[in-house]
């Protein structure tokens, strides 16, 4: 109860919102870093994932290699990369954290995009070829649109992980929302700690909402009534709900 009171006091004190170490700047820094990391992760993982899915080759080993990245704790990565970042002039805070987050963000994006493109219904692809579509047309006109729900799911899973893990940056001087948690813990200020934790949860919630909205806008053919027909071949972390065949293209 007292922690909740301390939390209320912290978030109703206006000085806590402004300045270098206020809620506003730290939330912005958190979003900035997460967005950057997600963008780089996507750029690094989407092209090879889609290509390998298209040629239906080398995927298993690629997924295996990418998944190894998940086994390395992000905290260890940040601490390992920290001295290297300093030596090459990238400084404290942003870059060492971003590096770890990019690696963390890759596996869900890669695995989902690869699986999505590879597992596009063979009949659909056959029909497209029968209509005279060439490789690239099949990829852009059929396979990618059909895989879009899964690709977006990958981005969404990755975004949630990245936002939640960006808190670790507080250990190397990155002033995101994690700083409230680490400082609150260090000075026994439960209000501060809880503020950080709740804000991170809130940001994650908003990210989920935004991706859900994007997904509905980009893939309107995935309708709610289709969700009941689950695909029995659902794959690993892939959200089975998204794996419904496109009704129209």
């Amino acid at each position: 109860m007292s922690a909740l009171n301390e939390f209320t006091t912290f978030v109703t004190t206006s000085e806590n919102y402004w300045g270098e170490r206020g809620i506003l700047i730290r939330t912005w820094d958190h979003l900035r870093l997460s967005g950057f990391a997600l963008l780089v992760s996507s750029l690094l993982s989407l092209p090879p994932a889609v290509y390998l899915g298209h040629i239906k080759r080398g995927g298993v080993s690629a997924v295996w290699i990418v998944n190894m990245g998940r086994a390395i704790p992000s905290f260890a990565l940040i601490v390992l990369i920290f001295p290297i970042s300093l030596r090459y002039g990238f400084g404290l805070g942003f870059w060492p954290t971003a590096f770890a987050l990019v690696l963390l963000g890759i596996p869900p994006i890669f695995t989902n995009a690869f699986t999505g493109v590879r597992d596009v219904d063979a009949g659909t692809v056959e029909a497209a070829r029968g209509m005279g579509m060439q490789g690239r047309e099949v990829l852009w006109g059929v396979e990618i649109p059909a895989a879009l729900p899964l690709i977006i799911t990958g981005l969404r899973v990755s975004a949630v992980q990245v936002v939640a893990t960006a808190t670790l940056g507080a250990y190397v001087g990155f002033g995101g929302l994690g700083a409230f948690i680490v400082e609150g813990f260090a000075i026994q200020d439960n209000g501060k700690l809880l503020t950080g934790a709740i804000l991170v949860a809130l940001v994650v919630f908003v990210v989920e909402l935004v991706f859900g909205w994007v997904q509905r806008r980009l893939t309107p053919w995935v309708r709610a009534d289709l969700l009941s027909k689950r695909d029995p071949r659902s794959f690993d972390i892939v959200d089975a709900d998204q794996r419904t065949a496109p009704a129209r293209l």
């Binding site: 001295p83 404290l92 507080a170 250990y171 001087g173 813990f185 260090a186 000075i187 026994q188």
Partner: protein, 319 residues
Amino acid sequence: MTRKIRGLWAVLAVLALLAGACGDDSGDDSASDETTASGDTASDASVPPDGPTITIGTQDFGESAILSQIYGQALINAGYSVEYQELGGFRDLEVPAFESGDINFAPEYVASMLEFLNEFAGEATSDVDETLGLLEEQLSEIGLQALEPAPAVDTNTFVVTPEKADELGLSGIGDLTDDLTLGAPQDCEANAFCLPGLDTVYGVDLSSGFTPLDPGVIPDALENDEIDVAVLFSTSGIIADKGWIVLEDTDGLLAADNIVPVVTDELVDTYGADFETLVNGVSAAITTELLTAANARFDIDAEDADVIAADFLADNGLG
């Protein structure tokens, strides 16, 4: 269908076995630790003491591990049975661990422990006797007591590189100016011996250039000029190793953070004067110089805390 379910059962069974094995492992480990600890030494102990196992709480930094081992091995050598319990980095895990009975002994720091217990009231000073008296009052309320403090002091110190000291003409804390950047542990904004103390004692306000950092990464940040001034611990082995300059505390900002063993009343009541004499004898040998050297072996040469502690006891005639 049935085949699938059977497969699922097999997976669950394997998981259960693994979980069971893990549980057994840790149980075996601690049990065997305990028996070897007492078994090895029961023969050569003059009076095998009878009473509870001494469980030493260790915080997650090297010096705490070394101190735990120094006290722990000295006690084992005298025939006590000793276990070590790793705690997190902060005291809000240690005090509840005392209360729940998970630990009954912890190497602590006079001023910092006092400030933690009085909720950062700012009562600690650079006078060790005065600060210890206040600490004992606080401890007695929760069934704990402090034994005699060691001469070694591990307090915050403000450190700069020699290049920076030359360039800016820094020798004392009072020479710092508000425009310098500071890298310090995350509690610095509220710690009476960090930002607030700088302001009240020296009138220096470094809060605009302050970056909160994990203690483990502060030396790297200072070495690479990411920060002008670092807050490090006075017994940190890296200061001498790198030839950094410790800014002089002319006005008595820094606290009497002498090493002090904190124990439960139960331990002292059960084991009595022999126990106190033994622990106080160990404390008396721990000086800032020796502790700094021990930390250097841990941090820079990456030796294990138990080896360093054994050498310390042997070198000081306590082994």
